[in-house]
């Protein structure tokens, strides 16, 4: 702190334990915040521009490269948007296989974040390897659970990072039945492991913070929404995908290479807390019981408790994958036939960190003329800055080092995928 001016600066030039490159700058003067910026400096990669002129079928593989942690969110959103544009419906065992694969991505991503990236904050440790020194069994359990998520992606998608077996209309090849059954046997263990981790994390001290969030998520009439549904909010929105961009838009601000999502009332929240708060009733009984054990009610408004909600969702994803594998019958064809043509289509799925929205317009040959992608972290940016403001104001008594760490932890509550957030921007229509 500068004694002369009473000004204090909190600066994190390169955030750790997040995916991508972000920085934080806060200036406080006389007990008031005069400047606060969560800055994303990840280089722009112009995905929406790169897609112009490519065939519709190229979109899943190209957009997967937006994010190595949640490639499936992009592959599935792009595939569904193309299917919507071309009048194709993917149902039955193919739909189930997609949901199983998505459960794999939730398990892999949630456990990576909760155990490896987020938990160390609550223990005052720099990383999970230090947790392993104190409690190797816990870290070993988390690694094996994460591995199962990756193995689900491997069995259905061919590999965990940037799977190769998914396409518009379904799959290139139907997954091997025996390998699916082998996963099933490990899922029973995984349910117990998810509960063990959740209970271990429930013992952490959670900083006090409660926020009246505008929670935005998918909702499906028959299931806890993962791969499809309408976009709803706890403020009463209930939108078909094609209406989303009429109510939610993005702003370009000077300090960030990612656009900021803006809803009807400004900032809004997507991700595990938003899903849980909007769709709690659709969780399994076992997941609800685990939530109660961890001290969570049907509404969670302390963002630091997102680590617990991630583990409740991990349990649910394990149960759901097991249920779907039990009921699975090998599809007659690995994919629905798709005929190229013109159209506009929308797709949206619940990436581990929140809704990931796609819209594409195709020309007569089925080539992309316009692409709009709205990733979760861009939508959360305004909310992250708002949380940070509250945390700084409430904790001015902490020394700068402790306050800086608390701010980092606040950002990590969102499991921000900065690599994703950077590339998404509005694009004017232009033909190659």
């Amino acid at each position: 702190m500068s004694k002369a001016t009473g000004t204090r600066t909190i600066k994190v030039d390169a955030l750790a334990r997040v995916e991508g490159e972000g920085a934080l700058h806060v200036r406080v003067k006389g007990g008031r915040i005069t400047d606060l910026k969560f800055r994303i400096y990840e280089p722009p990669r112009f995905f929406e521009a790169l897609l112009r002129g490519r065939m519709f079928g190229d979109a899943p593989d190209i957009t997967a490269r937006i994010c190595g942690i949640c490639p499936l969110a992009y592959m599935m959103g792009a595939s569904q948007a193309m299917e919507d544009a071309l009048g194709v419906e993917v149902t039955g065992p193919l739909r189930d296989l997609r949901r199983i694969a998505y459960c794999g991505e939730w398990i892999e991503s949630h456990v990576l974040h909760a155990a490896m990236l987020h938990a160390p904050d609550f223990l005052g440790l720099d990383d999970a390897l230090l947790i392993a020194r104190e409690n190797p069994a816990l870290v070993e359990k988390a690694l094996q659970l994460k591995k199962l998520g990756n193995d689900i992606l491997d069995v259905i998608g061919g590999r965990a990072v940037h799977p190769v077996n998914l396409k518009v209309g379904g799959f290139y090849k139907a997954p091997d039945r025996q390998r699916l059954t082998a996963l099933r046997d490990r899922l029973d263990w995984a349910m117990g492991a998810s509960e063990d981790l959740a209970r271990a994390f429930a013992g952490f001290d959670f900083p006090a913070l409660e926020v009246d969030y505008a929670c935005v998520s998918l909702r499906h009439p028959d299931e806890y929404a993962i791969c499809e549904g309408r976009i709803v909010s706890n403020r009463g929105d209930d939108l078909a995908l094609e209406d989303f961009l009429d109510h939610y838009h993005e702003e370009h601000v000077a300090h960030s290479n990612a656009l900021h999502g803006v809803g009807p009332e400004g900032r809004y929240l997507v991700g595990p807390l938003a899903r849980y708060n909007n769709n709690f009733g659709q969780l399994s009984d076992r997941a609800k019981a685990l939530a109660a054990d961890c001290g969570l009610g049907p509404m969670v408004i302390n963002p630091f408790k997102s680590i617990l909600v991630r583990m409740v969702e991990t349990l649910y994803a394990c149960e759901e994958a097991a249920r779907l594998i039990d009921a699975h019958e090998r599809p007659v064809e690995p994919a629905v036939r798709v005929t190229p043509g013109p159209g506009t289509g929308h797709g949206c799925t619940e990436a581990p960190r929140g809704i990931c929205f796609h819209r594409y317009t195709l020309d007569d040959e089925g080539r992309i003329v316009q692409a709009v992608i709205v990733p979760p972290t861009a939508q959360n940016q305004k909310q992250i800055e708002d949380d940070l403001r509250r945390v700084v104001e409430a904790n001015l008594d902490l020394d700068t080092e402790a306050l800086t760490w608390r701010c980092e932890q606040t950002i990590r509550n969102y499991d921000p995928c900065i690599s994703c957030a950077t590339h998404f921007l509005k694009l004017s229509v232009e033909r190659e």
């Binding site: 750790a16 112009f46 929406e48 490896m116 990236l117 070993e140 990756n150 940037h162 190769v164 396409k167």
Partner: protein, 258 residues
Amino acid sequence: MAVKRPKLAVWKFSSCDGCQLSLLDCEDELLAVAEAVEIAYFLEATRAEVRGPYDISLVEGSISTPHDAERIHKVRRKSKSLITIGACATAGGIQALRNFHDVNDFVRAVYAHPEYISTLAKSTPIQDHVQVDFELHGCPIDKFQLLEVLNAFLNGRKPNIPRHSQCVECKLAGTVCVMVARGEPCLGPVTQAGCGNLCPSNDRPCYGCFGPKEMPNTGSLADWSARRLGQDARQVRHLFRAFTAYAEPFRKESEAHE
């Protein structure tokens, strides 16, 4: 601990984070790796930072901004061995598709305020900027190949990474040729092996994410695709223009079909 462990650093440039994630995806090996080396700088995994110099630096991502073009020299100066991992670092990545267009058109088309954006005209591989000691291909890299390369560097030997084509993998595995059997253009003949024979064994043609093999005959493959499989110039161009589009053999071949 009596023996000083070699220091490992992991650096990120323009990328999706998937290649450095491969290290965290070594679930069975991670704790052993952390014993063999000191993880001295790895932002995705730890907020601890140990000062350089580093014995081994793994570099993910391509150079696409003026800031990164300077930063990579600092990383090189601090690193005894510098290993690039993945298609972005070794070939410029999918974001190098901009290299075939005017980047200003992209910026103007995409951003409401182009003046806020700082970017270079081209996305380029690390070896265009600094000397690189080893390049590990893949989009993403294969985690077992990564462990092999780390093991080799720690023990002062040459990494055992094949440079032959994907076709060899198919033949060894007995996978039916998608080009012969299904008449679909496949980059297998010109792409380096290493993915584990993924796409052809999933009934789809190889899309080249491991980049060009040594001395690929791209002209012959383009000719086959055009004459025998009926692909037009744009289809041939797009075949070579994907995740490793700016690797020289693929770049030249795609430009031949402009």
